[in-house]
Assembly symmetry: C2
């Protein structure tokens, strides 16, 4: 089984920031936490989804809250494992593996922290194939896994177990608890067996984060075009299609922490060969990219804002006036584009009026 060690964390954090599409929580903080855990407990086994036994207990784990808060309220380091242990106690069974709830930022790194501390593998898959802002926006939920019982923990040892009649109610209650716990918590939820995990997860996303990170780092060393590198790399995956949507300078930014989310938009004015204006709206993650009023990419397809020099992903909470940014769009795997999936995390689930159009068709 492949193992993720200290030397991999730089690549993993970079790739996770890319798939986070602006959200998922600051990857630097995730990297610090993972570095501490792996330095103490050694490398973590990465379990290919296909190899997980039918009856293994897989528990998705991660961080909940506004990235703008995570940036200032850094996890103590013991609460992610506490969330897993509390859910195990409630279920009356130890987990055989953890899995990321989403691909992106801190939530690709935190499962490594827990896996290292608990000495169990992390499954190479997740429930979003990117980052999304709300807990019901999981392929786990789309394909019938119950979100609850779920556990929400903070750094003071407070813990809440939620049983809800729907994933949306679980999100609503857990968000309220997270806000009252200061805007950032650790969660464990959607516990399932290995057979179910293979049916409902987006496979291979941790491995993909590693490949993206390695590819970008190698391109930088070779002084190669990082955007061409990303497009070529993604072509061979189940994501498949990627393209540059726009390039320019950030000229306007509206961002507030509201209802427990980072909500707003960024406007980018064209530079070089690009004219006009790109507007990207976000709720933690980037949702819609319009160039001169026309939609060029829309959720669930990925909209990534990258530094125009280095292709370093810029998360929502790090956006600043004057940044030179390149927007890249990426198609998501087929499991995330079914009618059932679009109902849960398509444009209408975010209150957007535009219908979903695959990014390939917008080009």
């Amino acid at each position: 089984m492949q193992r993720i060690g200290l030397d991999d964390l730089g690549d993993l954090a970079l790739g996770a920031a890319f798939l986070g599409t602006g959200g998922g929580g600051d990857p630097y903080i995730g990297r610090l936490l993972a570095t501490t855990a792996l330095a103490e407990h050694g490398p973590v086994a990465l379990w290919p989804l296909a190899d997980v036994p039918d009856d293994a207990l897989v528990v998705p784990v991660g961080n909940m809250g506004a990235p703008t808060v995570l940036f200032e309220k850094i996890p103590a380091g013991h609460e992610p494992l506490a969330a897993l242990r509390k859910l195990e106690a409630y279920l009356g069974r130890r987990a055989d593996a953890v899995m990321p709830i989403e691909a992106g930022g801190v939530n690709s790194m935190l499962p490594l922290v827990i896996a290292a501390q608990a000495r169990i593998p992390v499954v190479d898959a997740d429930g979003m194939g990117r980052a999304f802002p709300e807990l019901q926006m999981e392929t786990f939920n789309v394909y019938g896994v119950a979100a609850t019982p779920m556990v929400v923990c903070n750094e003071w040892g407070d813990a809440v177990v939620i049983e809800a009649h729907s994933a949306k109610m679980a999100e609503w209650l857990a968000r309220g608890v997270t806000i009252r716990m200061g805007g950032q918590t650790s969660v464990a939820e959607y516990a399932m067996d290995g057979k179910t995990a293979r049916r409902v997860s987006v496979p291979g996303t941790l491995g993909l984060c590693l490949r993206i990170g390695r590819g970008l780092h190698a391109a930088r060393r070779r002084h190669a075009d990082p955007f061409a590198t990303l497009i070529a790399l993604l072509k061979d995956t189940h994501y498949g299609f990627a393209k540059v949507l726009f390039r320019g300078k950030l000229v306007a930014l509206h961002r507030e922490t509201k209802h427990g989310f980072a909500i707003g938009y960024a406007a980018i004015e064209g530079l070089d060969d690009w004219s006009g204006r790109l507007v990207v709206t976000f709720q933690n993650e980037n949702l819609e990219a319009r160039v001169n009023g026309t939609v060029k990419a829309i959720v669930p397809d990925l909209i990534c804002l990258l530094d125009s020099e280095t292709a370093e992903p810029v998360t929502t909470e790090r956006l600043r006036y004057g940044q030179r940014l390149t927007a890249m769009g990426v198609s998501v795997p087929p499991i995330m584009r079914t009618p059932a999936a679009l109902q849960v995390f398509g444009p209408q689930a975010f209150g957007l009026s535009e219908p979903f159009r695959p990014i390939e068709a917008n080009s």
Copy 2:
């Protein structure tokens, strides 16, 4: 063992409304729920606190939320028992009895509903000796019982188990969950053994509610002065002292549902022998009574607003312009006036600047 049957509910509801000091939730709604439960399951055994065995599991149960919401969002009837059952499952043990969390309004009646449905007794005691707005304001907490694990349930089958490092944190989290569940929930908390219950509870308060209700009803039939009846009746209890503070007409009312509470004040202009103005402030329950600016009674002593004709208690959510009201003050039992108790539910716990002065000393 004494049993509470359908014929007792009118007396009990009336006495509970009195001890509710304006809060505790509308007693009429509690009476409807108890009537349904007792009609179906028969009378409920009332267990004197002194008779509860050392190792019996006693679970305080009740309703959480703003009385203004309860008034419009009436419990379905199954969620109070669901809260008990969920806590029992979490503790791995069945309760031998339930107990009211507070004396007053719906929360003196709901334990009867659960006791009838679960076919267990209700302990004749509670954790407030009156009604208070927040969950940490319990003699249980004052004298060292952990508030959690506690369960919060709604009418849709959603349930939350809270484990908190303090009773105040439990209140903070449960209040947030209650707000997101629509402002009204059923709770089970402060589970304890019989030996502890005897040490930390205000004894005899359900029996007292019955006696107050019977006394008032009898006075009405005899056309006797109901206020003199109350003063005489309370003199023989561990409450001891009661007096009329003011009499007049409600001329101003400010009441809003904020942060999950009914918060505001009522101003009453003197009638008959009373001149000047009484102002009563409340957070669900009445907190402070000032006549012409001078404090005449202050929390935790009871401040009860009663109809001037019938001495029917008027709860916060039923206050209306023009009502003829008589304010009565009552001293609370010694267990509620220790320095430790005043720290948890004295004037400063509500942000009031006046120190506590026993009502006897204010007269």
